[in-house]
């Protein structure tokens, strides 16, 4: 892997290649954002923003066709691309519209998970760094959120994207999701939020309800805890070694009430095996709960959630007009492409294997005989893409190919579901 060859200074030279040689999957991108052309002008009224060389930021970009999008991007060579909302009018003409009538109408429901939000519970890295140990947090976050969005909220079309350094995004693309109001987005985000509070808050997860102290834990939490428990021992006790040093043990103890803290301080003098230490903690909590008149206390579960549960930025999800980094953008510091994540292979997803722009440009130069044959066969089948024959071959020769495939599957699933909807509708119409 020569991903370490990426040098940010080369970005201005590599980007034109990226956009021109159609690494950037323009036709799929256009298919995605047109959503089957069901709504008129859906693509044309979508806002994009570009960050250009020297950090010049331009908003309210919009395009009337795939061609125009391609041409503009190849001309402007943006360092970063953001996607905004679908507006009532073409964003590029927003100044010509009567004030008050230019409105954001629809946008995907999005979630942003940033590893720096976990800094208070990560021992291995901090700030912009990540490693294979703390990547588990992303794994847990994706699993929990994906399940909740699909099973609880009934969403089907979720695109998870790795951003190239320390975060992931989730784009929920269902029709219903795109039409959600600000209040609804905020309610969904709050439903999914369990870790609350900033630097001044020590205990960030509170599960017991002071108004209904004897109520059992709700179903939503039981499901989540079953996921977290699967990872907790290995990730938190072993990898993060939260009971390994005095400092980290103190952090854990700070989340517990005085009496349990005292008892543990004593028993930890003798017991040094972290697994057993954790068991002792859980026993004490259980004992306190059954003796207590105050009802359910879930300190051990709260600790698990504080160390593992996904931390979302609610503000990103709330706004209909919020601009969010586009998939297939290039990360300027690491050079990695923001690629879709295949959830079926989530356990083996390695953020350090995601190709950088320099890698794929390099791969482009290496001719591969066997791949060329395969492509020729496919070209004969695909009449439509005959004109783009040359272009398709380009990215398929690189490590980017498998990630674009994930994007293709995502688009196919949406197309199938749209077809299903239309059939349903026409069936209803034929029935009287």
């Amino acid at each position: 892997m020569s991903t370490s060859d990426y040098d940010p200074a080369c970005l201005p030279d590599l980007l034109p290649i990226y956009y021109r040689r159609l690494f950037f999957p323009f036709s799929q991108y256009y298919r995605w954002l047109s959503y089957g052309g069901v709504s008129k002008n859906y693509f044309q009224n979508r806002e994009f923003s570009f960050t250009l060389k020297d950090d010049i930021y331009v908003r309210y970009q919009s395009f009337t066709s795939q061609n125009e999008l391609e041409n503009e991007m190849q001309k402007m060579v943006p360092n970063k691309i953001d996607i905004g909302a679908v507006y009532s009018h073409r964003p590029s003409q927003h100044n010509a519209v009567k004030s008050g009538t230019f409105q954001a109408l629809e946008k995907e429901l999005v979630f942003d998970i940033d590893m720096t939000d976990y800094d208070d519970v990560r021992c291995c890295c901090s700030a912009a760094d990540i490693c294979s140990k703390c990547w588990t947090l992303m794994n847990i976050a994706i699993r929990i959120l994906d399940r909740a969005l699909r099973e609880d909220f009934g969403f089907h079309h979720l695109l998870w994207v790795y951003l190239g350094r320390r975060g992931v995004h989730c784009w929920v693309c269902d029709d219903a999701a795109r039409k959600l109001s600000v209040a609804a987005r905020s309610a969904v985000a709050e439903y999914l939020s369990l870790v609350k509070g900033g630097e001044e808050t020590v205990r960030k997860v509170v599960l017991s309800d002071p108004i209904h102290p004897f109520i059992k834990l709700p179903l939503f939490l039981l499901v989540i805890l079953s996921v977290v428990e699967r990872y907790f021992q290995q990730y938190t006790i072993v990898d993060q070694d939260i009971l390994g040093s005095k400092e980290s043990v103190d952090k854990v103890l700070a989340l517990l009430p005085e009496d349990i803290k005292k008892d543990l301080a004593v028993s930890y003098k003798d017991e040094k095996d972290p697994m057993k230490q954790w068991d002792q903690l859980c026993d004490l909590v259980e004992r306190k709960k059954s003796n207590s008149r105050k009802g359910g206390q879930y300190f051990d579960k709260e600790i698990m959630l504080q160390y593992c549960y996904p931390r979302l930025d609610v503000n990103v999800s709330k706004g209909v007009n919020h601009l969010l980094k586009s998939p297939f953008s290039v990360h300027p510091k690491t050079g990695r492409i923001s690629v879709p994540i295949d959830l079926k292979e989530l356990n083996t997803f390695d953020p350090f294997e995601v190709p950088t722009i320099s890698l794929i440009c390099e791969e482009l130069e290496r001719p591969r005989a066997d791949e060329a044959e395969e492509d020729d066969k496919k070209d004969k089948e695909n009449e439509q893409e005959a004109g783009e024959r040359h272009r398709i071959r380009d990215y398929k020769r690189t490590s980017l190919a498998k990630y674009v495939k994930v994007f293709d599957w995502f688009l196919e699933a949406m197309a199938r579901s749209r077809k299903g909807e239309m059939l349903k509708k026409s069936d209803l119409q034929m029935d009287f």
């Binding site: 909220f153 219903a176 439903y191 939503f220």
Partner: protein, 503 residues
């Protein structure tokens, strides 16, 4: 749905249909003509009700026993529809009409809209919760709230999950009562707090929780209706119509005091000047105690302070002669000689008593007026100390007056939450050493009267007498409150303050 067609056909039966339910969504405006008196009275009484809803909502935990009792009492005493009695036609008509009248006033600004929606929602929630289960279902059907009920079989399959997700739900409840299936977008409050079972984008709501959904609906409809009304031709043309004389009145009503106006002094002449010092410590609200102290110390008060304190003194029973003597004796100790006092200040005292100029007998300021208008500046001592004093200074003052530290903290908490009148009520409770003041503070003179009542031990008996008197007065003297209130309203619109020069 045949529902809308039915409405167009049977205008005659329309009214009966509309008022056959205790509670309504206010979907249709009233279609009849009413007298001006009824118009004003209905509006004022609903405003009183909404103000009580606000006060009770702040001082008690919502839906607690205390909350319910207080609201119950207010709703009956104001003759609004209550718990679905048979002969409630008149009350329901009043409920309907008064709601729409207040819409006219409260659609005007963002703040007014927000306040109105909040109180109407709380009132609606309270009344909906009072309905019997059957009436709740009737209400949903009548208002076309198409919330799908879950089939018995589906209920059986989901029973455990439902019980695990909703507080207060037992197995029997699930079997016996309906469970509604609602798209999650219509149940955001329950979703946000995770108080509901969600599956595939639908929220499964047990019968007793349906009020949250209905409230959501209520809020959306009312919010939209107010916005539409604001932009409608009706409201724009109101400014040119003969009705336009009422719209400004409502701005005043929105912040107007609508209780007793203390212009008819029952205790006139019963207070002697020598008592005032002692009374200021015992029975004056903090603002007046503060003003009195400043007057004694500086032998002077500026115009705002003279008005606020002077009218208060009138309200507690000082005669004009007493007032003149009081002010003169104090000012003369300062930089003002007797002659100057007679020339300049005496006039304004007489004016306060309605003996000069347009001879309006001005009424003492209510708390609302003190809090909202004419904020004090450097050198002023008027205003509401809970509102206008810096918290540190307020704390010091309370310490000087020997209020306990925990009491001071409670007061400061209320001040932080902007509950100035409750803070003053708390001051009453602390200085009179009583747990519950037993009244909702709205007026400095009310503070004084209640305090005197309490100190003379006659409180409990008096309270009952007052309640029965009120309910007797209400139907008979329907015009009286409105007259008194237009008077106060006119004053507040008038420019008394700018009449005099400040020194």
């Amino acid at each position: 749905m045949q529902f809308s067609g039915r409405r167009k056909k049977l205008i005659g039966n329309f009214q009966n249909d509309l008022y056959d339910q205790c509670l309504q969504f206010y979907g249709q405006p009233p279609l009849e003509n009413i007298s001006l008196t009824e118009f004003e009275t209905f509006a004022v009484e609903r405003l009183k009700l909404l103000k009580t809803v606000e006060n009770v909502g702040v001082s008690c935990v919502k839906n607690s026993e205390q909350y319910t009792k207080k609201l119950d009492a207010e709703i009956s005493s104001l003759n609004f529809p209550h718990r679905g009695g048979i002969s409630e036609y008149e009350k329901r008509r009043k409920d309907h009409i008064s709601h729409f009248i207040l819409r006219l006033a409260y659609c005007q600004t963002e703040d007014l809209r927000r306040w109105f929606i909040q109180q109407e929602m709380d009132l609606f929630r309270y009344r909906f919760n009072c309905l019997h289960s059957k009436h709740k279902t009737d209400f949903l059907h009548k208002n076309n709230l198409k919330y799908e009920t879950v089939s018995a079989e589906e209920k059986k399959n989901l029973k455990d999950k439902l019980i695990a997700s909703s507080y207060g739900l037992s197995g029997t409840k699930v079997e016996e009562h309906d469970v509604y299936k609602v798209p999650f977008q219509d149940a955001l409050d329950l979703v946000r707090t995770r108080k509901v079972y969600l599956l595939a984008g639908n929220a499964y709501i047990p019968h007793h929780e349906i009020v949250t959904i209905v409230l959501n609906d209520f809020r959306t409809r009312l919010s939209k209706a107010l916005a539409v009304m604001f932009y409608s031709d009706l409201v724009i043309s109101l400014h040119c119509d003969w009705l336009s004389s009422f719209v400004p009145l409502f701005f005043c009503y929105s912040h107007a005091y609508v209780g007793q106006d203390y212009s008819i002094q029952k205790n006139i002449g019963k207070i002697s000047l020598e008592q005032i010092d002692a009374l200021s410590g015992k029975s004056f609200p903090l603002c007046m105690r503060h003003l009195h102290k400043a007057l004694r110390e500086n032998h002077h008060l500026r115009h705002g302070g003279r008005m606020q304190y002077g009218l208060f003194l009138k309200g507690i029973g000082l005669t004009l002669e007493q007032a003149l003597q009081f002010w003169r004796s104090e000012f003369v100790k300062g930089k003002v000689d007797a002659d100057k006092f007679d020339k300049a200040y005496a006039y304004s005292v007489r004016h306060m008593f309605g003996k000069e100029g347009k001879r309006t007998d001005y009424t003492p300021y209510s708390c609302m007026k003190v809090i909202l208008s004419n904020p004090p500046s450097q050198g002023d001592y008027h205003g509401c100390p809970f509102r206008h004093s810096d918290p540190e200074l307020l704390k010091q003052k309370l310490q000087n007056y020997k209020v306990s530290p925990s009491g001071i903290n409670q007061i400061l908490e209320l001040v932080k939450g902007m509950h100035y009148q409750l803070a003053c009520q708390k001051y009453f409770e602390l200085t009179h050493n009583v747990e519950d003041a037993g009244f909702s503070l709205n007026h400095p003179n009310q503070y004084f009267t209640e305090s005197q009542k309490f100190l003379s031990g006659g409180r409990d008996i008096k309270k009952e007498v007052d309640m029965s008197q009120r309910s007797q007065e209400n139907p008979a003297s329907v015009t009286h409150p409105s007259q008194a209130n237009s008077k106060q309203a006119h004053e507040e619109m008038g420019d008394l303050d700018s009449f005099f020069q400040d020194e």
